[in-house]
Symmetry: C2
């Protein structure tokens, strides 16, 4: 795992074919194109400019002069790939659907838009240059034409989590450091325990061993309202200081919060503060790997910005590592007043592809 | 003028007050905040973290730890600021409205969305880091709360024009180099002739001398259809090769196109190719200063990406330097088949602010 790049293009696709061979052929073509592009190459053997003139190029060309920009490409499979809305086993893989890979529940206060939620397959491209991330997604979508169609897509900037001990903690659009307690790439043991799916986790889904679950939540922030709250209130909502990111109980950013410390009225870190509600201490020790991004998608219909946080988390099991956490947050978190959840999706991310393999091979072959 | 930065946040605002003093007070506050932020400071004297706890901070905080990132902020005034839709002189400045500052005509094939068009005031923030550009716009919008409201806003990445002789030409989402013939920052004489408003240009608008007009066009590209065209066709539409960007008449990127050179059937650079239709030779020598950006705004309703080019041009007079060019393009350009114009706006951009002045001072005082 590498420190997270700063730009994101995420797409969720619906599979429009019912032909298993066609889907497998696409996964093979994607694997090939992804490998080329992450090395800085074009999406296909015949690039944008060196092909026969009378055929469409294998690459769209907008990243021709750009460096690889640390591009990474991640694929995930949604519940609908295994069993469609009518209960059909579309591609003969229903028996291998992991028990945890079900459509997530709707949480209280969710205002999810179907056009920003779910999907049969997801592709996440991260890079230091948005043009490189966009180029990757655009070409993979192009290659999928006729087999998949875009369901929704999301751009992001300014990763919102520390993902490596070598990175400083970035800030979300509330202006606060975000992801201080995130699992870092160097925490091998925590990754094993909380992020990677273990060999015994699910007998139906051996293909997912070493992979992970990916949860997305599109979190609109009512930033115009937030911006009119006092500094003190903002810090009470979050449970940390805005400047250094230290818990209100004192110390520095990385200091452990002291939830017992008394203030003038009740604990100095309020019981409904974000840091307390989602802290591992409050949630049976559960930790997640966050790789979220800020977004601004133009304006909303009340004279403000359509902005917020595109939450992305990798975790070992959504039933233990996400649903309880989100329920607690929806129920008790003081920040909820400033959040609107407008999209949500869950995918199973197979482990890295070995030499000569294609993405998801262990799921389809066997 | 500096080489263009790589990230854009552009906002168009409606003025919601009819009180001239309130508007002038806002312009003063904006001038102050813009000056602070372009120097890497916070938006107000009391930043996000050093204010009294019981008041909202003067800065939202998300750029706290980030460098200035070459942030520039540009303000412009739309026709509606001078005369509203009912013909009222809202702020006593109707007599100073430049004759050229009228709502642009609708061009054939335009599918403009009112929610992505026009506006009383625009603010353009460019920076090397999108979080810095977003922070600037967000804080200026916040300062304007109660006096202005967001009408539309647009993020962009990957500037699409060479803006300095020290930059290589970037590519648009058609995969072609874009803006090869753009006026460069070093071409002082061309800037005088084609971009900056001259002292004698408009007796009503002395305040605009040394300023410019800013045209925006949100150009959706039907990239999925484009991607299925042969390399040859793509190059015929553009009139340049995809690889080097050289005109089809030969040479290198910067070589002058030879529109007379014969091919096997007609000129080798097709008469309806983009390069020919918009070339200064074809348009009475008119040149513009382009500072456009690529955009991807999620997905559209036909299973593709909502993507394209956010065209921004600075020019001396829209009546001579934009409207005829756009008419020619709408009528004859082969590229039109792959373009949908979904937004449009025109603003007058006053010249740079002198020490102790506020943005637009020459328009309001006098």
């Amino acid at each position: 795992m590498t420190p997270a790049q700063d730009r994101l293009h995420f797409v969720a696709l619906d599979v429009t074919t019912d032909d298993r061979d066609e889907l497998v052929a696409l996964l093979k073509a994607w694997t090939d194109a992804a490998a080329r592009m992450t090395e800085g190459g074009s999406a296909g053997p015949v690039g944008a400019v060196d092909g026969p003139g009378n055929a469409p190029p294998d690459d769209t060309g907008e990243a021709l002069d750009l460096p690889p920009s640390r591009l990474t490409i991640t694929f995930g499979f949604g519940p609908g790939l295994f069993v469609d809305a009518d209960g059909n086993d579309r591609f003969g893989i229903a028996a291998r659907r992991p028990a945890a890979l079900e459509q997530l529940p709707r949480f209280s206060a969710d205002v999810l838009e179907p056009a920003r939620s779910d999907g049969d397959i997801c592709i996440q491209a991260c890079a230091d240059d948005p043009q490189v991330a966009v180029h990757a997604i655009r070409n993979l979508v192009r290659i999928g034409f006729g087999t998949t169609a875009v369901r929704w897509s999301q751009l992001g900037f300014g990763r919102t989590s520390t993902t490596s001990t070598s990175q400083t903690t970035p800030r979300n659009l509330f202006g606060f450091k975000d992801g201080t307690a995130n699992i870092k790439a160097e925490e091998t043991e925590a990754l094993e325990q909380h992020v990677w799916v273990g060999a015994e986790d699910d007998p139906r889904a051996a293909w997912l061993t070493g992979g992970s679950y990916l949860v997305t939540r599109r979190i609109n922030m009512t930033i115009e309202v937030w911006d009119r709250q006092s500094l003190e209130s903002q810090e009470q909502f979050v449970g940390r200081t805005k400047g250094t990111g230290a818990p209100l109980s004192g110390g520095e950013e990385m200091s452990e919060p002291d939830f017992e410390m008394k203030g003038s009225s009740g604990p100095i870190i309020p019981v409904d503060s974000h840091v307390r509600v989602v802290h591992p201490h409050t949630n049976g020790g559960v930790r997640i790997l966050r790789r979220g991004y800020n977004f601004v998608d133009g304006s909303n219909d009340v004279g403000g910005l359509d902005a917020g946080l595109f939450f992305i988390a990798y975790l070992r099991d959504p039933r233990t590592h996400f649903i309880p956490l989100q329920r607690a947050m929806s129920k008790s978190d003081a920040l909820m007043e400033y959040l609107r959840f407008t999209g949500q999706a869950l995918f199973a991310v197979p482990p890295g592809v070995g030499k000569g393999e294609y993405v998801g091979q262990a799921l389809f072959d066997a």
